[in-house]
Amino acid sequence: MLNLVLQRLGLGVLTLFAASILIFIGTEILPGDLASAILQNSATPESLAKLRLDLGLDRPAILRFFDWLFGVLHGDFGHSLANGRDVLTEIAPRFANTMFLAAYAAIVAVPLAIGLGLLAAIRQGGVFDRLVNVFTLMTISVPEYFLAYLLIKYVAVDLGWFPSLANVTPETSFIDRLYYAFLPMVTLVLVIVAHMMRMTRASVLSVMASPYIEMAILKGLRKSRIVVRHALPNALAPIISVVALNLAYLIVGVVIVETVFVYPGLGQLMVDEVSKHDVPVVQACGLIFAATFILLNMTADILAILSNPRLRQPR
């Protein structure tokens, strides 16, 4: 089992390296080069030459890639092209805000999804079960901003219960943050809860078909006890991986939710900088998003390995 875990860790590092290559190449494969892409129509030969020198474009791409990667590993993401500020100091507080929002949503969504999924499994085929199915299909289809604007219109504007803008500052207290970020959190929860719930239900039900569950039924145990004590432990591995997958999705969904609620997170920053062609900041944000995504997927796989009773014995 240790071997499997180490293999997965190695693969994770390799994937991360691959992602960093991809992010770097994404800004390299261009007609012309980065400098002319950034300046576009305002380019003069002098300004182009200066920017090329600033960006180090006179050196081969492979050298620049390793320079960039080496810098990143030392916490040096370079400087913003828009305002010349150090990228790391620019993104660090934003990243903290994003993690706060994502964690907030996860803490609410995961127990809710697993609880409702178990309930749907216990009441399989009932009205609640069928409602859950239709509801799931709908929330998977509906874009985040639709849910967000619905919440703003009816909960923030009409009822006035929560603010529609979540523009927190570093001085905002923890309790206020929870309050300001409430509607963004609810939007994210609505988006991810259905999928996790459906998978919890499906994996519990597939375990429910096995003979040892039939044994438990014949022993005359209550349905809820069978589902929670007998079926759930064996259904855990797929549930864990779906939870991690959805948390990884959260990292992307956060981009749109932050934009709707003007929440000062990493996603909102990235969107702003993309339209400004501020490549170093975009690369840094991209790498952080990708790393979080890869890390969560890796954690999911490792937890699945650890929670699989069949892999506990060394072969």
């Binding site: 994937t15 691959a18 992602a19 290559i21 991809l22 992010i23 994404g26 800004t27 261009l30 980065l34 892409a37 576009q40 239709v134 299909l137 709908m138 998977i140 289809s141 509906v142 874009p143 985040e144 901003y145 639709f146 604007y149 619905l150 703003i152 219109k153 923030a156 504007v157 009409d158 529609s164 803008l165 990884a248 990292i251 992307v252 981009v255 749109i256 934009t259 709707v260 990235m270 969107v271 900088e273 993309v274 339209s275 062609h277 501020d278 490549v279 975009v282 690369q283 944000c285 991209g286 998003f289 990708a290 995504f293 890869i294």
Partner: protein
Amino acid sequence: MRIRGYKVSVTAQIGIVVVVINLFVALFAPLIAPFDQATPVGDAWADPSAQHWLGLDNLGRDILSRLIYGARMSIGLSLVITALSFLIGVISGFAAAVAGGWIDQALSRLVDLLLSMPTLIFAFVILSVLGSALPVLIFTIAILDSTKVFRLARSVAINIVSLEFVEAARLRGEGWWWIVTREVLPNAVPPLTAEFGLRFCFTFLFIAALSFLGLGVQPPNADWGSMVKEYGEMINLGSAAPLYPAGAIAILVIGANFIVDWMLSIHSRGQGEGA
């Protein structure tokens, strides 16, 4: 209602109606729209009235007419991108499955590489350099999306290639082109059709999300995503304007998903009978 002997579920019937109406509106937009999409016809942000069912927007344009024209951009663009991503994905997926060996290895590793990070984030990196011109959007999204088509096409084709009738075709000396077009393709159509629906939904939501973030379709062109962005701030003043285009997006995707869900359920039932 039945299609090819299969009973069509209620949700799938709703889905078909929704999708057909949307396609109809997109095709015949100039005939249906009550007003021109670009000309102001009254005061900015006028309330809905008998003449203007959804009211007027920030420049006094009829919101309903803009929605109707926006359907063309949103649906047309997504169809073009999905078709292109299928062309790339199916050809390379079948090539990998039929050829095997180093071609398969090279293509599969390339796809693994592209799938190692979230699509939206990678699209941001590319758009930050290339800008958001329509051809850039089409090719970027099509290529990123074709990775998922590749995976499905390859795995479907590998299953088919290992069957006896393909072996027979090989033994009687047919070339790979015959094998792909005459043996593999006809058998791969059902799963690929359902996948087309899924990928269309994904592309449709993806391009709308980019437009909503201001990185997709640029003015003067407008799709439903960019309309949500344009009208977004009005929500704080109690207007429902951004909900109309956002709702239109949601309804079409729900409809399409209902159909896909039904197709997948027939497909899995069909396989169950065969086993």
